[in-house]
Point group: D2
Chain length 352, copies 4
């Protein structure tokens, strides 16, 4: 873990609900994240990140889940089964575009080792990706089954953000991006629930931080990148909660994460693969499983608001954590100048 | 038309592409808008707005269209046929929640009168609504077929914004809202296309204008309204363009309008009916109709960006145009204090 | 109610599960159906059918529901809210294409009378239709609010099938069709559930009854009707059950009804509005409502099989119940020759 | 290729339109199919099938495509991008459940070799699967990148059906299934188009052939297999045409293939992964590509009818071509007794 101060520690943005203790997706009890980061030679700048819901025998003990599609230009696996059954049954993988097959095989291998799969058990695995090809040679088989197993072994609540795992070679706007995270604690009557978000940023637009047009003030030229001939980019979002919701409710929450991206300056580019994978660690939402009551739709507003705010903040977290990287063919992606950005935002604040 | 200065005339927000000459949806050639505004007695504060694509014999000469759903808590008609066939074949109606049936009948009546429908012709009509029940008694049959016919007779390029038509009794955040509009002119190679947006606002959140947290600075208390027991609210969006796009492309453009709402402070509340109805006045996108080439996906980024920006601006347009209104049971919805808001935003600008 | 023997009484088709006692949708406890049939002068041959789930204060006590779209060329209302919230909150209306607005207003009126709606309550009403324009002048305002109220007053478990209500002027293949119904009783462990289907047929193809190509053997010429210039037709399906299912599960069940139509010879024509509206009278599937356990997905196969079989049989029920009708401009739609059909089918059976 | 007579050669079923010359998907000009069949030791009974549209530089010269989901319990890749962009850009793979990752990597490898992919090109690959675990040990890495490359090398118009490629270890109802195919030639005005279907069967129900309840007459016990604890099964469908259609039109055609499965006795089981991947080899349907006119929706009925009939027939083709196989743990799946089935069906025909 690097020593950079995290975005939220600068106090630049308000939260409608209190942050979780680590301000990470792993604040949701049980949820852990593992990275493998591959920085090799001149041209390999990639990795894989596993988000594990922390359920014993997850394949048997499926949890409620849903996937929202902001723009479907991505190689996500597993979506139709999540849509049909409303459940997640395997750890989630985030990696580089052409490593999806390897990540898929890696996660099946992990499940086979852990859960004594029967002869006809074919788990449904959700793997997402971003195209880190600016810094990374995506046509090299950088990620293999062993890497995925190692990411799984690295699962921890105290995971790093920035240039790690699936975010190793990725960007955000004109700068280096990567993995970011955030969480909130929400009260419903007497009970307290956590909602956490993890992002793997690789998209552009005109960067806005907490409403301040930081991109323009820094002379960002990202817009031109989206003109014909250039690729836009993607953002993967994983969203976890321990609140008892059905897959239908989780899908609605997941859809709000794209509004969080909008706040950062994204218009969800036509060539982006923007997906939000949401799950609840509470199994009550799986039909036939339990008699525990789900939360009613009437409480959803605060979870929607949280999904928006936590996603927005997780993107800034990735930006502030990332470090300048040189990669494929000498391409360089600079870290955002944190101190300058903080100054710009604060000068706005003073004015109000 | 009232004499209030329109939002964009204050120069508070940049546009990535130039505005159309009226900065309205009617800048798209052929498109016209007609209102009927009903302010009667203490309790009737409602109306109907017609958006007409301006195509001769529209029912026979269907145009490419698509509808995006931000949150489906609304009584929109006609969506499945638009989804199935990718076409719009009737003028679009925007009215109050319980007047949808009347608006539907009214538009069928208009088509029957204009287009000599055959004995089995049953046009598909898209009618959207917002719940203006705070100021308006929605259980009274305020809107009838004749009103809809009158709205149609009122079609004009030079339509009013604010407390008119379907926006007569509606709100935006803590203030009076209504109808707003905006447009942009986009160049693609040698050709110039217009994209225009019209909104019927009736939603809340924490108002942000061009990134400035205006709602909080004005002491907005709207958030509490969304707690259980209160209704959130809706935003209807109509989006027109003369660019030759297929219904698939129009749907993707329509989906971006919700990102524009996000910029204004909406999280797309769980009780909102947020729909974007998009159409192209160029029939090339209807299969079997013409040999004219459609624009490729590679130009979509600028239309996405425009959909976001024009929707955002149309909301501010509605807010700035609306006037304080007293209605049902003495309920009052105040106009936003325009001069104070302008000052707040400008003080931010100076600081940068 | 006419005295014709119902299809199932001929013993021509097997049922994988036992039929309910009336072999109708009203075998699901609480569910009732009401018709108003309008046969006036030469040109009015239409009506409205209400399917009521039988829940006290349904608007407040919403039930799990879902709508599947076989082909969306129809004027169905209310679908986006059912999709978003997974609930049905009003009786379902089935009528003629251009009477949807009237049916919508009628059902709102019924709810206002029964449920003391609050000032901002805007119920979501699902109304479906078929185009009965061959026998009926759809451009006349045949259905009004009072008719809908009368259909509601006529609610009964012992409703008629054939040329009644929304099926008054409709067809099936080359013959007169109308309303048909069927039901099954399904055991799951110690408990017994009922699934019932009601159809409003108005579609074509090449009629097959229980696998026998009856249409071809009767010299059916319906296929030609679907060539360009002719309208195909629609089938509305209402499906009720008292089994505790979520809206997700109900949607999957609803989707199977189209496979039942396929068995009768439909290919779901491009100009059909084929929709299946499914609901459970058990509220356990509404999030936040109860702690009762839903049935697991593992029992769905028998409900899928039942949805297919009951829909198929309900179509034959409509065909066998309908009677020859003369209508608009002297158009005539003949009843299927029941005795001849029975003979044809039986001769097949003997051969095996 | 085995020497068994193909189903259609028995003359048991009528075709509304004439069959293509090989009665296979490869009757669509350019389309070819390649298999690799792996029968090794006791436990490996699997393979991979490639369906190639026959377009030079397919990744650059994308074609219109669409995917319909009958039931989403399957591990299909690539669907969101096809949904978003309406295009197919890589050969389609069909394999065993846990070999999807390998097939994905194999097809990317093929594209890299053939098309000189740029540094950031990440092709979207559609791979489908069925669970052949009854006869095959799916947990062994039977399929590797080289196999996929070999399937590609084997591409031919004159491909085999039955126990080959992705159908090596699969079933149909109570019997051995596999790969089947069928095609039709459709006239539209002066022009002639071909529509071809290829199925990879692995599903059950109560087998009906051309309306005759063959399953019941053969004492089929398949139904019991679907009770809790047993797995249902899947059917993958690839559908090709040279008719100029948009992705929207292709999706509607694809959805009809499930009605073809219904005719064979399927109710689309809750545990099936039933997907139909449709494409047109005519690029006119890709926005921005050409000025050639698409076919209007008014001709769709005959393509719907064809999709239903060709899919139905392709399933019988697979059943009649398949041969008895012994596999994993000594499990045996018998071939259907063709001569007996032909006799049963003919005795029905005589009776009529």
């Amino acid at each position: 873990m690097n020593n950079k101060k995290r975005f939220y520690e600068y106090g630049l943005i308000e939260a409608s609900f209190p942050r979780g203790k680590g301000n990470k997706i792993s604040d949701v009890p049980g949820v852990r994240v593992g990275h493998v980061t591959k920085v090799e030679g001149e041209n390999v700048r990639t990795g894989v990140t596993i988000v594990d819901p922390g359920i014993q025998n997850l394949f048997r003990n499926k949890i409620p889940g849903a996937i929202a599609v902001g723009n479907g230009y991505g190689k996500l696996t597993g979506i139709t089964q999540v849509e049909e059954l409303g459940t997640i049954e395997a750890p989630i993988g985030l990696t580089s575009t052409l490593s999806v097959g390897a990540a898929l095989q890696g996660i099946v291998t992990i499940l086979s080792g852990r859960e004594a799969l029967g002869p006809i058990d074919g788990p449904n695995v959700v793997v997402g990706e971003v195209n880190d090809g600016f810094l990374n040679d995506i046509h090299v088989d950088s990620i293999n089954v062993e890497d995925v197993e190692n990411a799984y072994k690295n699962l921890t609540e105290d995971f790093s953000v920035g240039n790690v795992g699936g975010g190793t070679g990725s960007r955000a706007f004109s700068w280096k991006g990567g993995i970011g995270s955030s969480s909130r604690v929400i009260k419903v009557e007497n009970k307290t629930y956590t909602l956490g978000v993890l992002v793997q940023t690789n998209y552009g637009g005109s960067l806005s931080i907490a409403g301040v047009p930081v991109g323009k003030l820094l002379g960002e030229t990202d817009f031109d990148e989206f003109l014909p001939g250039n690729l836009g980019g993607s953002c993967m979002v994983a969203l976890a909660t321990d609140a008892p919701f059905s897959s239908r409710q989780l899908k609605r929450i997941a859809q709000r994460t794209f509004l969080g991206l909008a706040r950062t300056g994204s218009v969800i580019s036509p060539t982006s693969g923007d997906y939000a994978i949401a799950f609840s660690t509470n199994r009550a939402g799986v039909e036939g499983v339990g008699t525990k009551m789900l939360l009613p739709d009437s409480v959803l507003y605060r979870f929607f608001l949280t999904a928006v705010e936590a996603t927005e903040e997780a993107v800034y977290d990735a930006l502030f954590a990332a470090e300048t990287m040189r990669g494929r063919d000498g391409n360089v992606r600079d870290a955002i100048p944190v101190e300058r950005v903080v100054k710009i935002i604060k000068s706005y604040r003073h004015a109000a």
